[in-house]
Protein backbone atom coordinates (compact mmCIF):
# COMPACT_ATOMS: atom_id res chain seq x y z
CA UNK A 1 0.00 0.00 0.00
CA UNK A 2 1.50 3.36 -1.02
CA UNK A 3 2.63 5.87 1.57
CA UNK A 4 1.08 9.34 1.55
CA UNK A 5 -1.90 8.37 -0.56
CA UNK A 6 -3.06 11.09 -2.90
CA UNK A 7 -6.21 9.20 -3.83
CA UNK A 8 -8.06 7.01 -1.33
CA UNK A 9 -11.33 5.51 -2.49
CA UNK A 10 -13.07 2.83 -0.46
CA UNK A 11 -16.36 1.42 -1.69
CA UNK A 12 -16.90 4.68 -3.57
CA UNK A 13 -20.22 4.83 -5.38
CA UNK A 14 -21.07 7.67 -7.74
CA UNK A 15 -24.41 8.11 -9.42
CA UNK A 16 -25.39 10.00 -12.54
CA UNK A 17 -29.13 10.21 -12.10
CA UNK A 18 -30.04 6.69 -10.97
CA UNK A 19 -27.17 5.03 -12.85
CA UNK A 20 -24.13 4.01 -10.79
CA UNK A 21 -21.13 5.12 -12.86
CA UNK A 22 -18.89 3.96 -10.03
CA UNK A 23 -20.11 0.88 -8.21
CA UNK A 24 -17.91 0.57 -5.14
CA UNK A 25 -14.39 1.51 -6.25
CA UNK A 26 -11.47 0.62 -3.96
CA UNK A 27 -8.32 2.40 -5.02
CA UNK A 28 -5.30 3.96 -3.38
CA UNK A 29 -2.76 5.94 -5.37
CA UNK A 30 0.41 7.22 -3.76
CA UNK A 31 2.35 10.41 -4.19
CA UNK A 32 4.28 10.54 -7.47
CA UNK A 33 2.71 7.39 -8.92
CA UNK A 34 1.75 7.04 -12.56
CA UNK A 35 -1.31 4.86 -12.74
CA UNK A 36 -2.87 3.64 -15.97
CA UNK A 37 -6.60 2.96 -15.98
CA UNK A 38 -7.64 0.41 -18.54
CA UNK A 39 -10.95 -1.12 -19.37
CA UNK A 40 -13.58 -1.35 -22.09
CA UNK A 41 -15.67 1.61 -23.20
CA UNK A 42 -18.26 2.50 -20.57
CA UNK A 43 -16.33 0.72 -17.81
CA UNK A 44 -16.16 3.89 -15.70
CA UNK A 45 -12.64 5.21 -16.39
CA UNK A 46 -13.80 8.70 -17.31
CA UNK A 47 -16.24 8.75 -14.39
CA UNK A 48 -13.44 7.75 -12.02
CA UNK A 49 -11.24 10.58 -13.31
CA UNK A 50 -14.10 13.09 -13.04
CA UNK A 51 -14.93 11.87 -9.54
CA UNK A 52 -11.32 12.37 -8.46
CA UNK A 53 -11.53 15.89 -9.91
CA UNK A 54 -14.53 16.61 -7.71
CA UNK A 55 -16.89 16.93 -10.64
CA UNK A 56 -19.12 13.93 -9.83
CA UNK A 57 -20.50 13.58 -6.29
CA UNK A 58 -19.70 10.44 -4.32
CA UNK A 59 -22.96 9.15 -2.87
CA UNK A 60 -21.61 6.38 -0.62
CA UNK A 61 -18.34 4.88 0.55
CA UNK A 62 -15.39 7.12 1.31
CA UNK A 63 -13.33 9.25 -1.06
CA UNK A 64 -10.36 11.44 -0.22
CA UNK A 65 -8.22 13.18 -2.83
CA UNK A 66 -5.18 15.26 -1.85
CA UNK A 67 -6.46 15.22 1.72
CA UNK A 68 -9.89 16.58 0.78
CA UNK A 69 -12.93 14.52 1.68
CA UNK A 70 -14.97 14.49 -1.51
CA UNK A 71 -18.15 13.56 0.31
CA UNK A 72 -17.87 16.56 2.62
CA UNK A 73 -16.60 19.14 0.10
CA UNK A 74 -15.69 18.06 -3.39
CA UNK A 75 -15.17 21.63 -4.61
CA UNK A 76 -12.09 22.31 -2.51
CA UNK A 77 -9.97 19.75 -4.39
CA UNK A 78 -10.73 21.19 -7.83
CA UNK A 79 -8.06 23.91 -7.97
CA UNK A 80 -5.41 21.31 -7.06
CA UNK A 81 -6.05 18.93 -9.94
CA UNK A 82 -5.57 19.20 -13.68
CA UNK A 83 -8.06 17.35 -15.85
CA UNK A 84 -7.47 16.80 -19.53
CA UNK A 85 -10.63 15.25 -20.88
CA UNK A 86 -11.83 14.32 -24.36
CA UNK A 87 -12.80 17.96 -24.71
CA UNK A 88 -10.24 20.75 -24.81
CA UNK A 89 -11.76 23.28 -22.38
CA UNK A 90 -10.67 26.14 -24.63
CA UNK A 91 -12.41 29.26 -25.91
CA UNK A 92 -12.60 28.83 -29.67
CA UNK A 93 -12.61 32.55 -30.44
CA UNK A 94 -9.53 33.34 -28.34
CA UNK A 95 -5.99 32.69 -29.48
CA UNK A 96 -3.91 29.87 -28.03
CA UNK A 97 -1.89 32.38 -25.99
CA UNK A 98 -5.03 34.14 -24.74
CA UNK A 99 -6.47 30.82 -23.63
CA UNK A 100 -3.38 29.68 -21.74
CA UNK A 101 -2.99 33.10 -20.12
CA UNK A 102 -6.67 33.13 -19.12
CA UNK A 103 -6.47 29.72 -17.45
CA UNK A 104 -3.21 30.71 -15.74
CA UNK A 105 -4.85 33.78 -14.27
CA UNK A 106 -8.00 31.83 -13.43
CA UNK A 107 -5.80 29.51 -11.36
CA UNK A 108 -3.89 32.34 -9.66
CA UNK A 109 -0.71 31.65 -11.60
CA UNK A 110 1.47 34.38 -13.10
CA UNK A 111 0.28 34.77 -16.72
CA UNK A 112 3.92 35.20 -17.71
CA UNK A 113 4.26 31.44 -17.14
CA UNK A 114 1.99 30.82 -20.14
CA UNK A 115 4.85 31.19 -22.61
CA UNK A 116 6.87 28.55 -20.75
CA UNK A 117 3.93 26.15 -20.78
CA UNK A 118 3.47 26.61 -24.52
CA UNK A 119 7.19 26.03 -25.00
CA UNK A 120 6.94 22.76 -23.08
CA UNK A 121 4.17 21.42 -25.32
CA UNK A 122 6.08 22.49 -28.42
CA UNK A 123 3.47 24.93 -29.65
CA UNK A 124 5.15 26.89 -32.43
CA UNK A 125 5.36 30.65 -31.83
CA UNK A 126 3.44 31.43 -35.03
CA UNK A 127 0.48 29.38 -33.79
CA UNK A 128 0.14 31.20 -30.48
CA UNK A 129 -1.65 34.19 -31.97
CA UNK A 130 -4.06 32.05 -34.00
CA UNK A 131 -7.63 31.62 -32.71
CA UNK A 132 -8.10 28.12 -31.37
CA UNK A 133 -10.93 27.36 -33.81
CA UNK A 134 -8.41 27.60 -36.66
CA UNK A 135 -6.01 25.07 -35.17
CA UNK A 136 -5.93 21.36 -36.00
CA UNK A 137 -7.14 18.78 -33.48
CA UNK A 138 -3.58 17.93 -32.48
CA UNK A 139 -2.63 21.57 -32.05
CA UNK A 140 -5.73 22.15 -29.92
CA UNK A 141 -4.74 19.21 -27.72
CA UNK A 142 -1.33 20.78 -27.24
CA UNK A 143 -2.91 24.09 -26.22
CA UNK A 144 -5.16 22.18 -23.84
CA UNK A 145 -2.12 20.48 -22.35
CA UNK A 146 -0.38 23.85 -21.96
CA UNK A 147 -3.48 25.23 -20.20
CA UNK A 148 -3.32 22.30 -17.79
CA UNK A 149 0.44 22.43 -17.22
CA UNK A 150 0.42 26.14 -16.45
CA UNK A 151 -1.77 25.56 -13.37
CA UNK A 152 0.91 23.26 -11.90
CA UNK A 153 -1.58 20.66 -10.62
CA UNK A 154 -0.56 18.20 -7.91
CA UNK A 155 -2.75 15.53 -9.46
CA UNK A 156 -2.90 15.02 -13.22
CA UNK A 157 -6.05 13.34 -14.48
CA UNK A 158 -5.71 12.50 -18.16
CA UNK A 159 -8.48 10.94 -20.21
CA UNK A 160 -7.11 9.45 -23.42
CA UNK A 161 -4.19 11.90 -23.52
CA UNK A 162 -2.74 10.30 -26.66
CA UNK A 163 -5.94 10.65 -28.68
CA UNK A 164 -5.79 13.01 -31.65
CA UNK A 165 -2.02 13.39 -31.49
CA UNK A 166 0.66 12.31 -33.97
CA UNK A 167 3.66 10.24 -32.89
CA UNK A 168 5.64 13.32 -31.88
CA UNK A 169 2.68 14.53 -29.85
CA UNK A 170 2.26 11.16 -28.15
CA UNK A 171 5.94 11.10 -27.25
CA UNK A 172 5.49 14.56 -25.82
CA UNK A 173 2.59 13.40 -23.63
CA UNK A 174 4.69 10.50 -22.34
CA UNK A 175 7.55 12.86 -21.56
CA UNK A 176 5.24 15.30 -19.75
CA UNK A 177 3.79 12.47 -17.66
CA UNK A 178 7.30 11.41 -16.71
CA UNK A 179 8.35 14.96 -15.90
CA UNK A 180 5.23 15.50 -13.78
CA UNK A 181 5.90 12.38 -11.74
CA UNK A 182 9.56 13.31 -11.37
CA UNK A 183 8.48 16.69 -10.06
CA UNK A 184 6.32 15.01 -7.43
CA UNK A 185 2.91 15.14 -9.08
CA UNK A 186 0.68 12.10 -9.27
CA UNK A 187 -0.72 11.00 -12.62
CA UNK A 188 -3.86 8.95 -13.16
CA UNK A 189 -4.62 8.38 -16.81
CA UNK A 190 -6.90 6.33 -18.99
CA UNK A 191 -5.78 5.14 -22.37
CA UNK A 192 -6.66 2.63 -25.05
CA UNK A 193 -3.15 2.97 -26.47
CA UNK A 194 -2.06 0.21 -24.10
CA UNK A 195 1.38 -0.57 -25.45
CA UNK A 196 2.50 3.04 -25.13
CA UNK A 197 0.61 3.74 -21.89
CA UNK A 198 1.89 0.59 -20.23
CA UNK A 199 5.46 1.71 -20.83
CA UNK A 200 4.77 5.02 -19.09
CA UNK A 201 2.81 3.71 -16.11
CA UNK A 202 4.15 2.43 -12.80
CA UNK A 203 1.01 0.49 -12.24
CA UNK A 204 -2.10 -0.62 -14.13
CA UNK A 205 -5.61 -0.74 -12.76
CA UNK A 206 -8.37 -2.45 -14.72
CA UNK A 207 -11.86 -1.01 -14.40
CA UNK A 208 -14.88 -3.10 -15.29
CA UNK A 209 -18.50 -2.26 -14.55
CA UNK A 210 -17.60 0.78 -12.46
CA UNK A 211 -15.32 -1.12 -10.08
CA UNK A 212 -11.66 -2.14 -9.89
CA UNK A 213 -11.33 -5.61 -11.43
CA UNK A 214 -7.54 -5.93 -11.23
CA UNK A 215 -4.64 -3.94 -9.83
CA UNK A 216 -1.11 -4.89 -10.83
CA UNK A 217 0.35 -2.99 -7.89
CA UNK A 218 3.57 -1.01 -8.15
CA UNK A 219 6.10 -2.17 -10.72
CA UNK A 220 9.60 -3.27 -9.73
CA UNK A 221 11.86 -0.34 -8.91
CA UNK A 222 13.80 -0.51 -12.18
CA UNK A 223 10.66 0.42 -14.14
CA UNK A 224 9.67 3.40 -12.06
CA UNK A 225 10.98 6.94 -12.22
CA UNK A 226 11.11 9.50 -14.94
CA UNK A 227 14.06 8.00 -16.79
CA UNK A 228 12.13 5.15 -18.38
CA UNK A 229 9.81 7.31 -20.45
CA UNK A 230 10.22 8.27 -24.04
Amino acid sequence: MPLDPVIQLHGAVALLGQFPVLAGVDLEVGDGERVLLRGPNGAGKTSLLRTCAGLIPVSSGSATVLGHDLRADRRSVRPLVGLMAHTTGLYDELTAADNVRFWAEACRVDPADAAGAMDRVGLATRLRTVPVNRLSTGQRRRVSLAAMIVRRPRLWLLDEPHAGLDTVGRDLVDRLIGDAAAAGATVLFASHDLERADAVADRTVSIVGGAVAEDTGPRPADRTGADDVA
Binding site: P79, L83, T87, E93, W103, A106
Partner: protein, 222 residues
Protein backbone atom coordinates in the same frame (compact mmCIF):
# COMPACT_ATOMS: atom_id res chain seq x y z
CA UNK B 1 -12.96 38.34 -6.10
CA UNK B 2 -12.47 41.58 -8.07
CA UNK B 3 -9.60 39.91 -9.91
CA UNK B 4 -12.07 37.26 -11.08
CA UNK B 5 -14.68 39.87 -12.03
CA UNK B 6 -12.25 41.72 -14.24
CA UNK B 7 -10.73 38.53 -15.68
CA UNK B 8 -14.10 37.12 -16.77
CA UNK B 9 -15.32 40.49 -18.05
CA UNK B 10 -12.12 41.08 -20.02
CA UNK B 11 -12.32 37.58 -21.53
CA UNK B 12 -15.93 38.12 -22.65
CA UNK B 13 -15.16 41.54 -24.09
CA UNK B 14 -12.17 40.11 -25.92
CA UNK B 15 -14.37 37.42 -27.44
CA UNK B 16 -16.87 40.12 -28.43
CA UNK B 17 -14.06 42.17 -29.98
CA UNK B 18 -13.04 39.13 -32.05
CA UNK B 19 -16.52 37.99 -33.07
CA UNK B 20 -18.31 41.37 -33.09
CA UNK B 21 -21.70 39.78 -32.47
CA UNK B 22 -23.06 42.85 -30.65
CA UNK B 23 -21.67 45.19 -33.28
CA UNK B 24 -22.68 43.18 -36.35
CA UNK B 25 -25.95 41.61 -35.22
CA UNK B 26 -27.45 43.40 -32.22
CA UNK B 27 -26.76 47.01 -33.27
CA UNK B 28 -28.37 46.54 -36.71
CA UNK B 29 -31.27 44.77 -34.99
CA UNK B 30 -32.02 47.70 -32.68
CA UNK B 31 -31.72 50.17 -35.56
CA UNK B 32 -34.18 48.08 -37.57
CA UNK B 33 -36.63 48.04 -34.67
CA UNK B 34 -36.38 51.84 -34.31
CA UNK B 35 -37.04 52.20 -38.01
CA UNK B 36 -39.98 49.79 -38.00
CA UNK B 37 -41.67 51.66 -35.17
CA UNK B 38 -41.12 54.91 -37.07
CA UNK B 39 -42.77 53.41 -40.17
CA UNK B 40 -45.64 51.99 -38.14
CA UNK B 41 -46.40 55.17 -36.19
CA UNK B 42 -45.10 57.99 -38.39
CA UNK B 43 -48.55 59.31 -39.10
CA UNK B 44 -48.73 60.31 -35.48
CA UNK B 45 -45.46 61.82 -34.25
CA UNK B 46 -47.08 62.76 -30.95
CA UNK B 47 -47.85 59.11 -30.27
CA UNK B 48 -44.32 58.13 -31.32
CA UNK B 49 -42.86 60.70 -28.95
CA UNK B 50 -45.12 59.58 -26.11
CA UNK B 51 -44.19 55.96 -26.65
CA UNK B 52 -40.43 56.55 -26.95
CA UNK B 53 -39.62 55.55 -23.36
CA UNK B 54 -41.46 52.25 -23.65
CA UNK B 55 -40.09 51.54 -27.13
CA UNK B 56 -36.55 52.24 -25.91
CA UNK B 57 -36.72 49.82 -23.02
CA UNK B 58 -38.63 47.10 -24.92
CA UNK B 59 -35.94 47.23 -27.60
CA UNK B 60 -33.24 47.08 -24.90
CA UNK B 61 -34.89 43.98 -23.45
CA UNK B 62 -34.90 42.23 -26.83
CA UNK B 63 -31.27 43.21 -27.39
CA UNK B 64 -30.41 42.02 -23.88
CA UNK B 65 -31.97 38.65 -24.66
CA UNK B 66 -29.69 38.27 -27.69
CA UNK B 67 -26.55 39.46 -25.87
CA UNK B 68 -27.23 37.31 -22.78
CA UNK B 69 -27.78 34.27 -24.97
CA UNK B 70 -24.52 34.88 -26.77
CA UNK B 71 -22.65 35.63 -23.53
CA UNK B 72 -23.80 32.34 -21.98
CA UNK B 73 -23.15 30.29 -25.11
CA UNK B 74 -19.42 31.15 -25.24
CA UNK B 75 -18.90 29.23 -21.97
CA UNK B 76 -20.70 26.09 -23.14
CA UNK B 77 -18.68 24.24 -25.79
CA UNK B 78 -15.85 21.76 -25.53
CA UNK B 79 -15.73 21.10 -21.80
CA UNK B 80 -15.61 24.76 -20.74
CA UNK B 81 -18.14 24.37 -17.89
CA UNK B 82 -15.91 21.72 -16.29
CA UNK B 83 -12.80 23.82 -16.88
CA UNK B 84 -14.46 26.77 -15.16
CA UNK B 85 -15.52 24.60 -12.22
CA UNK B 86 -11.93 23.32 -11.87
CA UNK B 87 -10.45 26.82 -11.87
CA UNK B 88 -9.87 29.03 -8.87
CA UNK B 89 -12.45 31.51 -10.09
CA UNK B 90 -15.05 32.27 -7.45
CA UNK B 91 -18.64 31.67 -8.60
CA UNK B 92 -19.61 35.16 -7.42
CA UNK B 93 -16.69 36.64 -9.34
CA UNK B 94 -17.76 34.80 -12.49
CA UNK B 95 -21.35 36.01 -12.11
CA UNK B 96 -20.32 39.62 -11.52
CA UNK B 97 -17.81 39.47 -14.38
CA UNK B 98 -20.52 38.25 -16.74
CA UNK B 99 -22.86 40.96 -15.43
CA UNK B 100 -20.24 43.66 -15.97
CA UNK B 101 -19.51 42.50 -19.51
CA UNK B 102 -23.24 42.36 -20.31
CA UNK B 103 -23.67 45.81 -18.75
CA UNK B 104 -20.96 47.30 -20.96
CA UNK B 105 -22.26 45.65 -24.14
CA UNK B 106 -25.81 46.75 -23.35
CA UNK B 107 -24.68 50.30 -22.60
CA UNK B 108 -22.99 50.48 -26.00
CA UNK B 109 -26.18 49.17 -27.62
CA UNK B 110 -28.29 51.71 -25.71
CA UNK B 111 -26.06 54.52 -26.92
CA UNK B 112 -26.71 53.52 -30.54
CA UNK B 113 -30.42 53.16 -29.79
CA UNK B 114 -30.67 56.52 -28.01
CA UNK B 115 -28.97 58.42 -30.83
CA UNK B 116 -31.23 56.75 -33.40
CA UNK B 117 -34.36 57.58 -31.41
CA UNK B 118 -33.41 61.21 -30.84
CA UNK B 119 -32.75 61.62 -34.55
CA UNK B 120 -35.77 59.70 -35.87
CA UNK B 121 -38.45 60.31 -33.26
CA UNK B 122 -37.82 64.02 -32.68
CA UNK B 123 -37.53 63.39 -28.95
CA UNK B 124 -37.34 66.44 -26.68
CA UNK B 125 -35.25 65.79 -23.61
CA UNK B 126 -36.30 67.69 -20.50
CA UNK B 127 -34.98 65.65 -17.61
CA UNK B 128 -31.52 64.64 -18.77
CA UNK B 129 -30.41 63.85 -15.20
CA UNK B 130 -33.33 61.45 -14.84
CA UNK B 131 -32.33 59.69 -18.04
CA UNK B 132 -28.65 59.53 -17.12
CA UNK B 133 -29.56 58.00 -13.75
CA UNK B 134 -32.15 55.51 -14.98
CA UNK B 135 -30.12 54.08 -17.88
CA UNK B 136 -27.24 52.59 -15.83
CA UNK B 137 -29.53 51.38 -13.06
CA UNK B 138 -31.99 49.75 -15.45
CA UNK B 139 -29.12 48.27 -17.46
CA UNK B 140 -27.53 46.83 -14.33
CA UNK B 141 -30.78 45.09 -13.39
CA UNK B 142 -31.18 43.68 -16.92
CA UNK B 143 -27.54 42.54 -17.04
CA UNK B 144 -27.85 40.76 -13.68
CA UNK B 145 -31.00 38.91 -14.75
CA UNK B 146 -29.36 38.00 -18.08
CA UNK B 147 -26.32 36.61 -16.24
CA UNK B 148 -28.53 34.39 -14.09
CA UNK B 149 -30.91 33.08 -16.72
CA UNK B 150 -28.49 33.05 -19.68
CA UNK B 151 -26.35 30.16 -18.36
CA UNK B 152 -29.44 28.43 -16.99
CA UNK B 153 -31.15 28.39 -20.39
CA UNK B 154 -27.93 27.70 -22.33
CA UNK B 155 -27.87 24.08 -21.24
CA UNK B 156 -31.47 23.42 -22.24
CA UNK B 157 -33.01 22.35 -25.51
CA UNK B 158 -34.96 25.17 -27.13
CA UNK B 159 -32.80 27.72 -25.31
CA UNK B 160 -33.64 30.44 -27.85
CA UNK B 161 -37.28 30.47 -26.79
CA UNK B 162 -36.76 29.56 -23.13
CA UNK B 163 -34.45 32.46 -22.28
CA UNK B 164 -36.96 35.23 -23.11
CA UNK B 165 -39.66 33.29 -21.27
CA UNK B 166 -37.46 33.32 -18.17
CA UNK B 167 -35.96 36.79 -18.53
CA UNK B 168 -38.82 38.96 -19.66
CA UNK B 169 -41.27 38.28 -16.79
CA UNK B 170 -38.47 38.87 -14.27
CA UNK B 171 -37.71 42.17 -15.98
CA UNK B 172 -41.30 43.43 -16.12
CA UNK B 173 -40.79 45.63 -13.00
CA UNK B 174 -37.64 47.09 -14.57
CA UNK B 175 -39.55 47.88 -17.75
CA UNK B 176 -42.30 49.56 -15.73
CA UNK B 177 -39.95 51.68 -13.63
CA UNK B 178 -37.59 52.62 -16.47
CA UNK B 179 -40.42 53.52 -18.87
CA UNK B 180 -42.06 55.72 -16.27
CA UNK B 181 -38.77 57.45 -15.43
CA UNK B 182 -38.25 58.13 -19.15
CA UNK B 183 -41.84 59.34 -19.47
CA UNK B 184 -41.24 61.94 -16.79
CA UNK B 185 -37.90 62.89 -18.36
CA UNK B 186 -39.52 63.35 -21.79
CA UNK B 187 -42.40 65.31 -20.30
CA UNK B 188 -45.00 62.81 -21.52
CA UNK B 189 -45.92 61.69 -18.01
CA UNK B 190 -46.30 63.70 -14.84
CA UNK B 191 -45.19 62.41 -11.48
CA UNK B 192 -42.21 61.89 -9.24
CA UNK B 193 -39.62 60.58 -11.70
CA UNK B 194 -36.91 60.04 -9.11
CA UNK B 195 -39.07 57.50 -7.27
CA UNK B 196 -38.87 55.31 -10.36
CA UNK B 197 -35.09 55.73 -10.38
CA UNK B 198 -34.95 54.62 -6.74
CA UNK B 199 -37.08 51.60 -7.67
CA UNK B 200 -34.66 50.79 -10.50
CA UNK B 201 -31.77 51.00 -8.06
CA UNK B 202 -33.50 48.67 -5.64
CA UNK B 203 -34.34 46.18 -8.39
CA UNK B 204 -30.73 46.25 -9.58
CA UNK B 205 -29.45 45.66 -6.05
CA UNK B 206 -31.89 42.79 -5.50
CA UNK B 207 -31.03 41.07 -8.79
CA UNK B 208 -27.28 41.45 -8.26
CA UNK B 209 -27.55 40.15 -4.67
CA UNK B 210 -29.75 37.22 -5.74
CA UNK B 211 -27.41 36.36 -8.61
CA UNK B 212 -24.36 36.51 -6.35
CA UNK B 213 -26.04 34.36 -3.71
CA UNK B 214 -27.08 31.69 -6.23
CA UNK B 215 -23.91 31.78 -8.32
CA UNK B 216 -22.31 28.68 -6.78
CA UNK B 217 -25.43 26.58 -7.34
CA UNK B 218 -25.76 28.02 -10.83
CA UNK B 219 -22.20 26.98 -11.67
CA UNK B 220 -22.84 23.41 -10.52
CA UNK B 221 -26.17 22.99 -12.25
CA UNK B 222 -25.45 24.50 -15.64
Amino acid sequence: MWHDVWLVCRKDLRIEARTRVTLNHVAPFVLTVVMLFAFALDADTTLLRRATGGLFWVTVLFAANAIAQRSASVDRPDGLPDALRLSNLSPAGMFLGKTLSLFLQLTATELVLAVAMVLMYDVRLRGIALILASIPLGTLAIAAVGSVYGPLAAGLQGRESILPLLMLPALAPVLLAATNAFGVAFGTTVGPGWRWVVMLGMLGAIYVAAGTATSAALLEET
